[in-house]
Protein backbone atom coordinates (compact mmCIF):
# COMPACT_ATOMS: atom_id res chain seq x y z
CA UNK A 1 0.00 0.00 0.00
CA UNK A 2 1.29 3.47 -0.82
CA UNK A 3 1.85 5.72 2.18
CA UNK A 4 0.32 8.91 0.81
CA UNK A 5 -0.77 10.63 -2.35
CA UNK A 6 -1.07 14.34 -3.21
CA UNK A 7 -4.20 15.68 -4.89
CA UNK A 8 -5.02 18.88 -6.77
CA UNK A 9 -5.80 21.99 -4.75
CA UNK A 10 -5.70 25.59 -5.98
CA UNK A 11 -3.81 27.29 -3.22
CA UNK A 12 -2.68 24.74 -0.73
CA UNK A 13 -1.45 21.18 -0.54
CA UNK A 14 -3.94 18.35 -0.20
CA UNK A 15 -3.05 14.75 0.49
CA UNK A 16 -4.54 11.40 1.37
CA UNK A 17 -2.61 9.09 3.69
CA UNK A 18 -3.38 5.39 4.08
CA UNK A 19 -2.93 2.64 6.63
CA UNK A 20 -4.25 -0.75 7.66
CA UNK A 21 -4.75 0.80 11.09
CA UNK A 22 -5.70 4.33 12.14
CA UNK A 23 -2.25 4.64 13.70
CA UNK A 24 -0.54 3.79 10.42
CA UNK A 25 -2.67 6.31 8.52
CA UNK A 26 -1.70 8.99 11.06
CA UNK A 27 1.99 8.07 10.71
CA UNK A 28 1.73 8.39 6.94
CA UNK A 29 -0.09 11.71 7.26
CA UNK A 30 2.85 12.97 9.33
CA UNK A 31 5.28 11.77 6.66
CA UNK A 32 3.21 13.42 3.91
CA UNK A 33 3.29 16.70 5.87
CA UNK A 34 7.06 16.41 6.39
CA UNK A 35 7.56 15.57 2.70
CA UNK A 36 6.25 19.03 1.80
CA UNK A 37 9.23 20.54 3.61
CA UNK A 38 12.06 17.98 3.52
CA UNK A 39 12.91 14.47 2.44
CA UNK A 40 12.04 12.58 5.64
CA UNK A 41 13.85 9.45 4.47
CA UNK A 42 17.11 11.36 4.51
CA UNK A 43 16.81 12.69 8.06
CA UNK A 44 19.09 10.95 10.56
CA UNK A 45 17.33 9.73 13.69
CA UNK A 46 19.57 11.41 16.25
CA UNK A 47 17.15 13.33 18.42
CA UNK A 48 13.77 12.36 19.81
CA UNK A 49 10.79 14.24 21.18
CA UNK A 50 7.94 12.66 23.10
CA UNK A 51 4.69 13.88 21.64
CA UNK A 52 1.31 13.69 23.35
CA UNK A 53 -1.77 15.37 21.97
CA UNK A 54 -5.48 15.03 22.52
CA UNK A 55 -8.64 15.85 20.65
CA UNK A 56 -12.38 15.92 21.24
CA UNK A 57 -12.76 14.06 17.98
CA UNK A 58 -10.39 12.35 15.55
CA UNK A 59 -10.15 15.37 13.27
CA UNK A 60 -9.03 17.60 16.12
CA UNK A 61 -6.59 14.88 17.15
CA UNK A 62 -5.18 14.66 13.63
CA UNK A 63 -4.76 18.39 13.26
CA UNK A 64 -3.10 18.74 16.70
CA UNK A 65 -0.80 15.81 15.89
CA UNK A 66 0.34 17.25 12.56
CA UNK A 67 0.79 20.68 14.13
CA UNK A 68 3.49 19.15 16.35
CA UNK A 69 5.71 18.80 13.29
CA UNK A 70 5.49 22.51 12.50
CA UNK A 71 5.79 23.55 16.13
CA UNK A 72 8.97 21.49 16.62
CA UNK A 73 10.43 22.88 13.39
CA UNK A 74 9.75 26.51 14.31
CA UNK A 75 10.72 26.33 17.97
CA UNK A 76 13.48 23.67 18.02
CA UNK A 77 14.54 23.52 14.34
CA UNK A 78 13.67 19.83 14.50
CA UNK A 79 13.21 17.84 11.29
CA UNK A 80 10.98 14.79 11.66
CA UNK A 81 12.40 11.57 10.24
CA UNK A 82 9.76 9.15 11.52
CA UNK A 83 7.04 9.08 14.20
CA UNK A 84 7.66 5.86 16.16
CA UNK A 85 5.59 3.98 18.76
CA UNK A 86 2.46 5.83 17.75
CA UNK A 87 -0.56 4.90 19.83
CA UNK A 88 -4.10 6.27 19.85
CA UNK A 89 -6.35 5.63 22.85
CA UNK A 90 -9.70 6.80 24.07
CA UNK A 91 -9.62 8.41 27.52
CA UNK A 92 -13.09 9.42 28.61
CA UNK A 93 -14.44 11.73 25.95
CA UNK A 94 -10.94 12.47 24.60
CA UNK A 95 -8.83 10.76 21.99
CA UNK A 96 -5.20 10.74 23.09
CA UNK A 97 -2.20 10.17 20.82
CA UNK A 98 1.30 9.38 22.00
CA UNK A 99 4.33 9.01 19.76
CA UNK A 100 8.08 9.33 19.71
CA UNK A 101 9.30 11.73 17.02
CA UNK A 102 12.72 10.72 15.77
CA UNK A 103 14.77 13.03 13.61
CA UNK A 104 17.53 15.60 13.62
CA UNK A 105 18.18 19.27 14.20
CA UNK A 106 18.28 21.36 11.04
CA UNK A 107 21.76 21.96 9.65
CA UNK A 108 23.25 22.75 6.25
CA UNK A 109 23.46 19.09 5.32
CA UNK A 110 19.66 19.03 4.98
CA UNK A 111 17.72 20.64 2.18
CA UNK A 112 14.41 22.26 2.95
CA UNK A 113 12.24 22.74 -0.10
CA UNK A 114 8.96 24.09 1.19
CA UNK A 115 6.95 25.52 4.04
CA UNK A 116 3.82 24.34 5.84
CA UNK A 117 2.19 27.21 7.69
CA UNK A 118 -0.71 25.42 9.31
CA UNK A 119 -2.89 22.34 9.27
CA UNK A 120 -6.48 23.12 8.27
CA UNK A 121 -9.82 21.35 8.63
CA UNK A 122 -10.66 22.21 5.07
CA UNK A 123 -11.81 19.04 3.26
CA UNK A 124 -10.43 16.95 6.12
CA UNK A 125 -11.69 13.37 6.02
CA UNK A 126 -11.03 10.31 8.15
CA UNK A 127 -12.49 7.15 6.63
CA UNK A 128 -12.45 3.47 7.31
CA UNK A 129 -13.40 1.03 4.59
CA UNK A 130 -11.07 -1.91 4.10
CA UNK A 131 -8.24 0.36 5.18
CA UNK A 132 -8.00 3.73 6.86
CA UNK A 133 -7.68 6.92 4.85
CA UNK A 134 -7.12 10.42 6.18
CA UNK A 135 -7.33 13.45 3.91
CA UNK A 136 -5.76 16.76 4.89
CA UNK A 137 -5.31 20.19 3.32
CA UNK A 138 -2.38 22.12 4.72
CA UNK A 139 -1.77 25.85 4.36
CA UNK A 140 1.53 26.30 2.56
Amino acid sequence: MERYRFLRHTADAKFQAFGTTLEEAFINAALATASLMWDWEKIEKKIEYKVEVSGKDLMQLLSSFLEEIIYLLDSKMFLLGFPENLRIEKKGSLHVLKALFKGDKYSDKYKIHGDVKAITYNEMEIEQNVHFMVQVVVDV
Binding site: A11, A13, Q60, I70, Y71, L73, S75, H113, G114, A118
Partner: protein, 473 residues
Amino acid sequence: MELKRINDYTWEIPKEGDMKVPALIYTSAKLLESVRRDMTLKQAKNVACLRGIQRKSYVMPDAHQGYGFPIGGVAAFDMDDGIISPGGVGYDINCGVRLLRTDYTERDIHERRAQLLAEMSKAVPAGVGKGGITRLSRNVLLEVCAKGAEWAVENGYGTREDLERTEESGRMEAADPSYLSPRAVERGIPQLGTLGAGNHFLEIQKVSEIYDEQVSRVFGIDSVGQVLMMIHCGSRGLGHQVASDYIRLMENKFGIRGLPDRELINAPIRSQLGERYYKSMSAAVNYAFANRQMIAHWVRDVFAKVMGSSEGMSQVYDVCHNVAKFEKHKIDGKEREVCIHRKGATRSFGPGREEIPEIFRSVGQPVIIPGSMGTASYILVGTSEAEQLSFGSTAHGAGRVMSRHEALRRFRGEQIKQEMESRGIELKSTSWKGVAEEASGAYKDVDEVVKVSHKAGLGKLVAKVVPVGVMKG
Protein backbone atom coordinates in the same frame (compact mmCIF):
# COMPACT_ATOMS: atom_id res chain seq x y z
CA MET B 1 -25.85 28.42 -8.00
CA GLU B 2 -27.63 31.55 -9.18
CA LEU B 3 -25.21 34.30 -10.17
CA LYS B 4 -26.72 37.64 -11.17
CA ARG B 5 -24.67 40.04 -13.26
CA ILE B 6 -25.06 43.59 -11.86
CA ASN B 7 -22.59 45.29 -14.21
CA ASP B 8 -19.37 44.49 -16.06
CA TYR B 9 -17.42 44.19 -12.80
CA THR B 10 -19.98 43.10 -10.22
CA TRP B 11 -21.92 39.87 -9.80
CA GLU B 12 -24.32 38.91 -7.00
CA ILE B 13 -25.35 35.68 -5.39
CA PRO B 14 -28.87 36.51 -4.18
CA LYS B 15 -29.89 35.58 -0.65
CA GLU B 16 -31.08 31.99 -0.38
CA GLY B 17 -31.28 29.29 2.27
CA ASP B 18 -29.47 30.30 5.46
CA MET B 19 -27.80 33.34 3.91
CA LYS B 20 -28.48 36.45 5.98
CA VAL B 21 -27.26 38.76 3.23
CA PRO B 22 -26.40 38.38 -0.47
CA ALA B 23 -22.81 37.83 -1.61
CA LEU B 24 -21.23 40.37 -3.96
CA ILE B 25 -18.33 39.45 -6.22
CA TYR B 26 -16.12 42.08 -7.84
CA THR B 27 -14.67 40.39 -10.88
CA SER B 28 -14.66 40.37 -14.66
CA ALA B 29 -16.05 37.84 -17.10
CA LYS B 30 -12.48 36.63 -17.58
CA LEU B 31 -11.62 36.26 -13.88
CA LEU B 32 -15.00 34.79 -13.07
CA GLU B 33 -14.11 31.63 -15.00
CA SER B 34 -11.39 30.63 -12.56
CA VAL B 35 -13.40 31.77 -9.52
CA ARG B 36 -16.23 29.47 -10.58
CA ARG B 37 -13.93 26.48 -10.88
CA ASP B 38 -13.08 26.23 -7.19
CA MET B 39 -14.96 26.70 -3.90
CA THR B 40 -14.71 30.52 -3.76
CA LEU B 41 -18.40 31.23 -4.37
CA LYS B 42 -19.62 28.49 -2.05
CA GLN B 43 -17.34 29.88 0.66
CA ALA B 44 -18.66 33.42 0.07
CA LYS B 45 -22.18 32.04 0.56
CA ASN B 46 -21.14 30.32 3.78
CA VAL B 47 -19.77 33.61 5.13
CA ALA B 48 -23.11 35.24 4.29
CA CYS B 49 -24.73 32.81 6.77
CA LEU B 50 -22.69 33.99 9.77
CA ARG B 51 -24.37 35.79 12.64
CA GLY B 52 -24.45 39.58 12.57
CA ILE B 53 -23.05 40.01 9.06
CA GLN B 54 -23.70 43.48 7.66
CA ARG B 55 -24.69 44.51 4.12
CA LYS B 56 -23.05 41.79 2.01
CA SER B 57 -20.43 39.06 1.96
CA TYR B 58 -17.85 40.63 -0.38
CA VAL B 59 -15.41 38.91 -2.71
CA MET B 60 -12.43 40.84 -4.12
CA PRO B 61 -11.20 40.53 -7.74
CA ASP B 62 -8.22 38.29 -6.89
CA ALA B 63 -10.28 35.83 -4.85
CA HIS B 64 -9.62 32.13 -4.72
CA GLN B 65 -10.61 29.26 -2.50
CA GLY B 66 -9.48 29.51 1.10
CA TYR B 67 -10.47 27.58 4.19
CA GLY B 68 -13.70 28.80 5.73
CA PHE B 69 -13.64 32.28 4.24
CA PRO B 70 -12.39 32.61 0.67
CA ILE B 71 -9.03 34.36 0.19
CA GLY B 72 -10.11 37.79 -0.98
CA GLY B 73 -13.14 37.72 1.34
CA VAL B 74 -14.34 40.82 3.18
CA ALA B 75 -17.10 40.74 5.79
CA ALA B 76 -18.22 43.09 8.55
CA PHE B 77 -20.10 42.05 11.66
CA ASP B 78 -22.26 43.90 14.14
CA MET B 79 -20.30 44.65 17.32
CA ASP B 80 -23.06 43.51 19.69
CA ASP B 81 -24.68 40.75 17.74
CA GLY B 82 -21.86 39.60 15.48
CA ILE B 83 -18.92 37.25 15.49
CA ILE B 84 -15.18 37.25 15.03
CA SER B 85 -13.55 34.31 13.26
CA PRO B 86 -9.88 33.27 13.05
CA GLY B 87 -10.70 31.74 9.67
CA GLY B 88 -11.85 35.17 8.51
CA VAL B 89 -8.38 36.56 9.11
CA GLY B 90 -6.31 33.61 7.99
CA TYR B 91 -3.32 31.78 9.41
CA ASP B 92 -0.72 34.33 8.39
CA ILE B 93 -2.04 37.21 10.49
CA ASN B 94 -0.95 40.59 9.08
CA CYS B 95 0.73 39.09 6.10
CA GLY B 96 1.32 42.40 4.35
CA VAL B 97 3.41 44.57 2.11
CA ARG B 98 5.75 47.45 2.76
CA LEU B 99 7.00 49.73 0.00
CA LEU B 100 10.09 51.94 0.21
CA ARG B 101 10.93 54.63 -2.32
CA THR B 102 14.48 55.53 -3.37
CA ASP B 103 16.17 58.39 -5.18
CA TYR B 104 17.85 55.88 -7.51
CA THR B 105 16.87 55.08 -11.08
CA GLU B 106 17.08 51.69 -12.70
CA ARG B 107 20.18 52.87 -14.59
CA ASP B 108 21.93 53.70 -11.29
CA ILE B 109 21.55 50.20 -9.92
CA HIS B 110 21.58 48.11 -13.12
CA GLU B 111 25.15 46.85 -12.76
CA ARG B 112 24.79 46.22 -9.05
CA ARG B 113 21.47 44.35 -8.97
CA ALA B 114 23.08 40.99 -8.31
CA GLN B 115 25.23 42.46 -5.57
CA LEU B 116 22.22 44.12 -3.93
CA LEU B 117 20.37 40.80 -3.90
CA ALA B 118 23.40 38.91 -2.61
CA GLU B 119 23.79 41.39 0.27
CA MET B 120 20.08 41.30 1.02
CA SER B 121 20.11 37.55 1.29
CA LYS B 122 22.93 37.86 3.82
CA ALA B 123 21.16 40.58 5.79
CA VAL B 124 17.64 39.12 5.79
CA PRO B 125 17.28 35.47 6.83
CA ALA B 126 14.90 33.63 4.49
CA GLY B 127 13.61 30.15 3.87
CA VAL B 128 12.19 27.49 6.16
CA GLY B 129 14.08 26.60 9.31
CA LYS B 130 16.20 29.73 9.30
CA GLY B 131 16.33 31.50 12.61
CA GLY B 132 16.57 35.24 13.04
CA ILE B 133 19.67 37.26 13.71
CA THR B 134 18.57 38.30 17.15
CA ARG B 135 17.89 35.84 19.91
CA LEU B 136 15.18 37.36 22.05
CA SER B 137 14.09 36.68 25.58
CA ARG B 138 10.46 35.86 26.23
CA ASN B 139 9.91 39.28 27.80
CA VAL B 140 11.32 41.13 24.82
CA LEU B 141 9.15 39.06 22.48
CA LEU B 142 6.09 40.07 24.51
CA GLU B 143 7.16 43.71 24.27
CA VAL B 144 7.49 43.36 20.47
CA CYS B 145 3.94 42.02 20.35
CA ALA B 146 2.65 44.86 22.51
CA LYS B 147 4.38 47.68 20.65
CA GLY B 148 4.81 46.46 17.07
CA ALA B 149 6.92 48.56 14.73
CA GLU B 150 7.32 51.09 17.55
CA TRP B 151 9.46 48.55 19.41
CA ALA B 152 11.63 48.15 16.31
CA VAL B 153 12.10 51.91 15.90
CA GLU B 154 12.92 52.33 19.60
CA ASN B 155 15.59 49.67 19.12
CA GLY B 156 17.27 51.35 16.21
CA TYR B 157 15.44 49.84 13.25
CA GLY B 158 14.22 52.69 11.06
CA THR B 159 12.67 56.03 11.85
CA ARG B 160 9.54 57.48 13.43
CA GLU B 161 8.49 58.65 9.99
CA ASP B 162 8.15 54.98 9.03
CA LEU B 163 5.58 54.53 11.79
CA GLU B 164 3.45 57.34 10.52
CA ARG B 165 3.45 55.64 7.12
CA THR B 166 2.29 52.27 8.38
CA GLU B 167 -1.30 51.09 8.74
CA GLU B 168 -2.32 51.53 12.41
CA SER B 169 0.97 53.44 12.82
CA GLY B 170 2.58 50.03 13.10
CA ARG B 171 0.87 49.19 16.39
CA MET B 172 -2.57 47.87 17.21
CA GLU B 173 -3.39 49.26 20.63
CA ALA B 174 -5.74 46.38 21.41
CA ALA B 175 -2.84 43.91 21.54
CA ASP B 176 -2.48 41.94 24.75
CA PRO B 177 0.45 39.52 24.46
CA SER B 178 -0.43 37.92 27.80
CA TYR B 179 -3.11 35.95 25.92
CA LEU B 180 -0.57 34.37 23.56
CA SER B 181 -0.01 30.67 24.23
CA PRO B 182 3.48 29.55 25.31
CA ARG B 183 3.74 27.81 21.92
CA ALA B 184 2.99 30.98 19.98
CA VAL B 185 5.73 32.76 21.93
CA GLU B 186 8.17 29.87 21.42
CA ARG B 187 7.58 29.91 17.67
CA GLY B 188 7.87 33.69 17.58
CA ILE B 189 11.20 34.01 19.38
CA PRO B 190 13.55 32.54 16.75
CA GLN B 191 11.69 33.99 13.77
CA LEU B 192 11.58 37.72 14.41
CA GLY B 193 13.34 39.51 11.57
CA THR B 194 12.97 36.67 9.08
CA LEU B 195 11.27 36.69 5.71
CA GLY B 196 9.92 33.15 5.75
CA ALA B 197 9.19 31.12 2.64
CA GLY B 198 6.30 30.40 0.28
CA ASN B 199 5.06 33.50 -1.49
CA HIS B 200 7.10 35.89 0.65
CA PHE B 201 9.75 37.99 -1.03
CA LEU B 202 11.90 41.10 -1.27
CA GLU B 203 11.77 42.80 -4.62
CA ILE B 204 13.81 45.57 -6.24
CA GLN B 205 11.41 47.26 -8.61
CA LYS B 206 11.33 50.10 -11.10
CA VAL B 207 8.36 52.30 -11.86
CA SER B 208 7.19 51.44 -15.38
CA GLU B 209 4.08 53.58 -15.72
CA ILE B 210 2.42 56.39 -13.79
CA TYR B 211 -1.34 56.72 -14.24
CA ASP B 212 -2.01 59.51 -11.76
CA GLU B 213 0.88 61.95 -11.43
CA GLN B 214 -0.67 64.11 -8.77
CA VAL B 215 -1.37 61.23 -6.41
CA SER B 216 1.86 59.39 -7.15
CA ARG B 217 3.82 62.51 -6.19
CA VAL B 218 2.04 62.59 -2.83
CA PHE B 219 3.11 58.96 -2.37
CA GLY B 220 6.76 59.80 -3.17
CA ILE B 221 6.74 58.08 -6.54
CA ASP B 222 8.12 60.69 -8.90
CA SER B 223 9.12 59.28 -12.25
CA VAL B 224 9.25 56.29 -14.56
CA GLY B 225 12.46 54.34 -13.96
CA GLN B 226 12.59 55.21 -10.22
CA VAL B 227 13.69 52.29 -8.06
CA LEU B 228 11.39 51.04 -5.27
CA MET B 229 11.79 48.23 -2.73
CA MET B 230 8.90 45.96 -1.84
CA ILE B 231 8.82 43.72 1.25
CA HIS B 232 6.18 40.99 1.51
CA CYS B 233 5.95 38.91 4.69
CA GLY B 234 3.88 38.35 7.80
CA SER B 235 3.75 37.15 11.38
CA ARG B 236 5.47 33.81 10.74
CA GLY B 237 4.86 30.88 13.08
CA LEU B 238 3.57 33.09 15.88
CA GLY B 239 0.59 34.24 13.84
CA HIS B 240 -0.14 30.73 12.57
CA GLN B 241 -0.12 29.44 16.13
CA VAL B 242 -2.57 32.14 17.27
CA ALA B 243 -4.97 31.07 14.51
CA SER B 244 -4.64 27.36 15.33
CA ASP B 245 -4.94 27.99 19.09
CA TYR B 246 -8.15 29.99 18.86
CA ILE B 247 -9.77 27.73 16.28
CA ARG B 248 -9.33 24.95 18.79
CA LEU B 249 -10.43 26.97 21.84
CA MET B 250 -13.55 28.13 19.98
CA GLU B 251 -14.35 24.58 18.86
CA ASN B 252 -14.09 23.29 22.39
CA LYS B 253 -16.20 26.11 23.78
CA PHE B 254 -18.92 26.44 21.16
CA GLY B 255 -18.83 23.13 19.27
CA ILE B 256 -18.94 22.70 15.54
CA ARG B 257 -22.55 21.67 15.06
CA GLY B 258 -24.43 23.69 12.47
CA LEU B 259 -21.32 25.11 10.85
CA PRO B 260 -21.29 24.68 7.06
CA ASP B 261 -17.48 24.41 7.26
CA ARG B 262 -15.39 23.67 10.34
CA GLU B 263 -12.96 26.47 9.48
CA LEU B 264 -15.78 28.99 9.96
CA ILE B 265 -15.62 28.47 13.72
CA ASN B 266 -16.16 31.79 15.47
CA ALA B 267 -17.01 33.47 18.75
CA PRO B 268 -19.27 36.40 19.56
CA ILE B 269 -17.16 39.57 19.42
CA ARG B 270 -18.29 40.49 22.91
CA SER B 271 -17.58 37.05 24.42
CA GLN B 272 -14.47 36.45 26.51
CA LEU B 273 -13.02 34.17 23.84
CA GLY B 274 -13.86 36.63 21.06
CA GLU B 275 -12.12 39.43 22.92
CA ARG B 276 -9.10 37.28 23.69
CA TYR B 277 -8.77 36.27 20.07
CA TYR B 278 -8.93 39.93 19.01
CA LYS B 279 -6.23 40.88 21.52
CA SER B 280 -4.00 37.94 20.55
CA MET B 281 -4.52 38.56 16.85
CA SER B 282 -3.56 42.21 17.44
CA ALA B 283 -0.37 41.00 19.16
CA ALA B 284 0.44 38.91 16.06
CA VAL B 285 -0.33 41.92 13.85
CA ASN B 286 2.22 43.90 15.85
CA TYR B 287 4.81 41.14 15.54
CA ALA B 288 4.43 41.30 11.74
CA PHE B 289 4.75 45.11 11.73
CA ALA B 290 7.97 44.82 13.76
CA ASN B 291 9.20 42.11 11.40
CA ARG B 292 8.75 44.27 8.30
CA GLN B 293 10.21 47.27 10.14
CA MET B 294 13.41 45.35 10.89
CA ILE B 295 13.67 43.98 7.36
CA ALA B 296 13.17 47.47 5.90
CA HIS B 297 16.01 48.71 8.07
CA TRP B 298 18.35 45.97 6.80
CA VAL B 299 17.34 46.70 3.21
CA ARG B 300 18.36 50.34 3.72
CA ASP B 301 21.67 49.16 5.20
CA VAL B 302 22.29 47.08 2.08
CA PHE B 303 21.64 50.07 -0.20
CA ALA B 304 23.98 52.19 1.93
CA LYS B 305 26.68 49.54 1.64
CA VAL B 306 26.32 48.71 -2.06
CA MET B 307 25.18 52.05 -3.50
CA GLY B 308 26.90 54.34 -1.05
CA SER B 309 23.77 55.88 0.44
CA SER B 310 20.27 55.04 1.60
CA GLU B 311 19.19 58.65 1.75
CA GLY B 312 15.76 59.25 0.26
CA MET B 313 14.64 55.69 1.07
CA SER B 314 11.57 56.77 2.95
CA GLN B 315 8.59 54.53 3.33
CA VAL B 316 5.67 54.88 0.95
CA TYR B 317 3.33 52.78 3.10
CA ASP B 318 2.86 49.44 4.83
CA VAL B 319 -0.47 47.61 4.48
CA CYS B 320 -2.04 44.55 6.10
CA HIS B 321 -3.53 41.83 3.92
CA ASN B 322 -4.92 39.52 6.62
CA VAL B 323 -6.57 41.24 9.56
CA ALA B 324 -9.73 41.92 11.57
CA LYS B 325 -10.40 45.43 12.87
CA PHE B 326 -13.04 47.55 14.50
CA GLU B 327 -13.91 50.36 12.11
CA LYS B 328 -16.68 52.91 11.70
CA HIS B 329 -18.76 52.63 8.55
CA LYS B 330 -22.02 54.09 7.33
CA ILE B 331 -24.66 51.37 7.25
CA ASP B 332 -28.24 52.23 6.24
CA GLY B 333 -27.36 55.89 6.60
CA LYS B 334 -26.05 55.56 10.14
CA GLU B 335 -22.42 55.49 11.19
CA ARG B 336 -21.68 52.41 13.24
CA GLU B 337 -18.70 50.49 14.48
CA VAL B 338 -18.33 47.02 12.96
CA CYS B 339 -15.78 44.23 13.07
CA ILE B 340 -14.27 44.01 9.60
CA HIS B 341 -12.53 40.86 8.45
CA ARG B 342 -10.16 41.30 5.53
CA LYS B 343 -8.70 37.99 4.49
CA GLY B 344 -6.43 38.46 1.52
CA ALA B 345 -7.75 41.97 0.99
CA THR B 346 -6.29 45.46 1.40
CA ARG B 347 -7.90 48.36 3.21
CA SER B 348 -8.63 51.00 0.62
CA PHE B 349 -9.70 54.13 2.46
CA GLY B 350 -10.37 57.27 0.48
CA PRO B 351 -9.68 60.93 1.28
CA GLY B 352 -10.72 62.25 4.67
CA ARG B 353 -10.65 59.04 6.75
CA GLU B 354 -9.02 59.81 10.08
CA GLU B 355 -7.28 56.39 10.16
CA ILE B 356 -4.97 57.32 7.30
CA PRO B 357 -1.88 59.50 7.81
CA GLU B 358 -2.33 63.23 7.42
CA ILE B 359 0.05 63.31 4.44
CA PHE B 360 -2.37 61.11 2.47
CA ARG B 361 -5.62 62.44 3.85
CA SER B 362 -6.33 64.71 0.89
CA VAL B 363 -5.92 61.94 -1.71
CA GLY B 364 -6.60 58.60 -0.01
CA GLN B 365 -4.31 55.87 1.27
CA PRO B 366 -1.74 54.02 -0.83
CA VAL B 367 -2.86 50.48 -1.68
CA ILE B 368 0.00 48.15 -2.52
CA ILE B 369 -0.84 45.11 -4.66
CA PRO B 370 2.06 42.75 -5.36
CA GLY B 371 1.89 40.64 -8.49
CA SER B 372 3.28 37.15 -8.73
CA MET B 373 6.98 36.36 -9.14
CA GLY B 374 8.41 38.15 -12.16
CA THR B 375 5.24 40.09 -12.99
CA ALA B 376 4.19 43.69 -12.41
CA SER B 377 2.93 45.03 -9.10
CA TYR B 378 0.64 48.02 -8.70
CA ILE B 379 0.18 51.03 -6.48
CA LEU B 380 -3.42 52.13 -6.16
CA VAL B 381 -5.15 54.78 -4.10
CA GLY B 382 -8.13 54.19 -1.83
CA THR B 383 -11.47 55.72 -2.72
CA SER B 384 -14.47 57.06 -0.81
CA GLU B 385 -16.76 54.94 -2.98
CA ALA B 386 -15.02 51.79 -1.72
CA GLU B 387 -16.49 52.46 1.73
CA GLN B 388 -19.94 51.88 0.29
CA LEU B 389 -18.86 49.18 -2.16
CA SER B 390 -16.72 46.94 0.06
CA PHE B 391 -16.27 48.56 3.49
CA GLY B 392 -13.19 50.25 2.07
CA SER B 393 -11.39 47.19 0.70
CA THR B 394 -9.84 45.94 -2.50
CA ALA B 395 -7.64 43.13 -3.85
CA HIS B 396 -4.32 42.09 -2.30
CA GLY B 397 -2.45 40.34 -5.10
CA ALA B 398 -2.75 38.15 -8.13
CA GLY B 399 -4.41 35.14 -6.47
CA ARG B 400 -3.52 31.58 -7.34
CA VAL B 401 -5.26 29.63 -10.09
CA MET B 402 -3.07 26.53 -10.04
CA SER B 403 -2.03 24.26 -7.19
CA ARG B 404 1.56 24.24 -6.09
CA HIS B 405 1.66 20.58 -6.97
CA GLU B 406 0.46 21.27 -10.50
CA ALA B 407 2.95 24.16 -10.80
CA LEU B 408 5.75 21.76 -9.86
CA ARG B 409 4.69 19.42 -12.64
CA ARG B 410 4.57 22.20 -15.21
CA PHE B 411 7.46 24.49 -14.35
CA ARG B 412 11.15 24.08 -13.61
CA GLY B 413 12.79 26.52 -11.20
CA GLU B 414 15.97 26.76 -13.27
CA GLN B 415 14.00 27.54 -16.43
CA ILE B 416 11.99 30.23 -14.72
CA LYS B 417 15.17 31.87 -13.50
CA GLN B 418 16.59 31.85 -17.05
CA GLU B 419 13.39 33.21 -18.49
CA MET B 420 13.31 36.00 -15.90
CA GLU B 421 16.96 36.84 -16.53
CA SER B 422 16.28 37.14 -20.24
CA ARG B 423 13.77 39.85 -19.28
CA GLY B 424 16.38 41.61 -17.16
CA ILE B 425 15.17 40.30 -13.77
CA GLU B 426 17.70 38.85 -11.33
CA LEU B 427 16.40 36.07 -9.09
CA LYS B 428 17.74 34.70 -5.84
CA SER B 429 16.01 31.91 -3.97
CA THR B 430 16.64 29.37 -1.26
CA SER B 431 14.86 26.65 -3.25
CA TRP B 432 14.29 25.77 -6.94
CA LYS B 433 11.15 23.94 -5.97
CA GLY B 434 9.89 27.10 -4.28
CA VAL B 435 10.58 29.05 -7.48
CA ALA B 436 8.58 26.59 -9.58
CA GLU B 437 5.67 26.66 -7.09
CA GLU B 438 5.51 30.43 -7.29
CA ALA B 439 5.74 30.61 -11.11
CA SER B 440 3.63 33.47 -12.42
CA GLY B 441 1.77 30.98 -14.63
CA ALA B 442 0.21 29.56 -11.46
CA TYR B 443 -1.42 32.90 -10.67
CA LYS B 444 -4.22 35.04 -12.00
CA ASP B 445 -3.32 37.88 -14.28
CA VAL B 446 -2.61 40.74 -11.85
CA ASP B 447 -3.20 43.29 -14.65
CA GLU B 448 -6.80 42.08 -14.90
CA VAL B 449 -7.21 42.10 -11.10
CA VAL B 450 -6.21 45.76 -10.74
CA LYS B 451 -8.27 46.70 -13.78
CA VAL B 452 -11.36 45.35 -12.02
CA SER B 453 -10.43 47.22 -8.84
CA HIS B 454 -10.06 50.43 -10.83
CA LYS B 455 -13.20 50.05 -12.92
CA ALA B 456 -15.35 48.94 -10.01
CA GLY B 457 -14.06 51.89 -7.96
CA LEU B 458 -12.54 49.82 -5.12
CA GLY B 459 -9.10 51.38 -5.58
CA LYS B 460 -7.81 53.57 -8.42
CA LEU B 461 -4.64 52.97 -10.40
CA VAL B 462 -1.70 55.22 -9.55
CA ALA B 463 1.43 53.45 -10.82
CA LYS B 464 2.69 50.21 -12.24
CA VAL B 465 6.04 48.79 -11.16
CA VAL B 466 8.04 45.89 -12.57
CA PRO B 467 10.69 43.79 -10.85
CA VAL B 468 14.39 44.06 -11.63
CA GLY B 469 15.57 41.83 -8.79
CA VAL B 470 13.71 39.25 -6.71
CA MET B 471 14.78 37.55 -3.52
CA LYS B 472 12.30 34.77 -2.87
CA GLY B 473 11.87 33.39 0.62
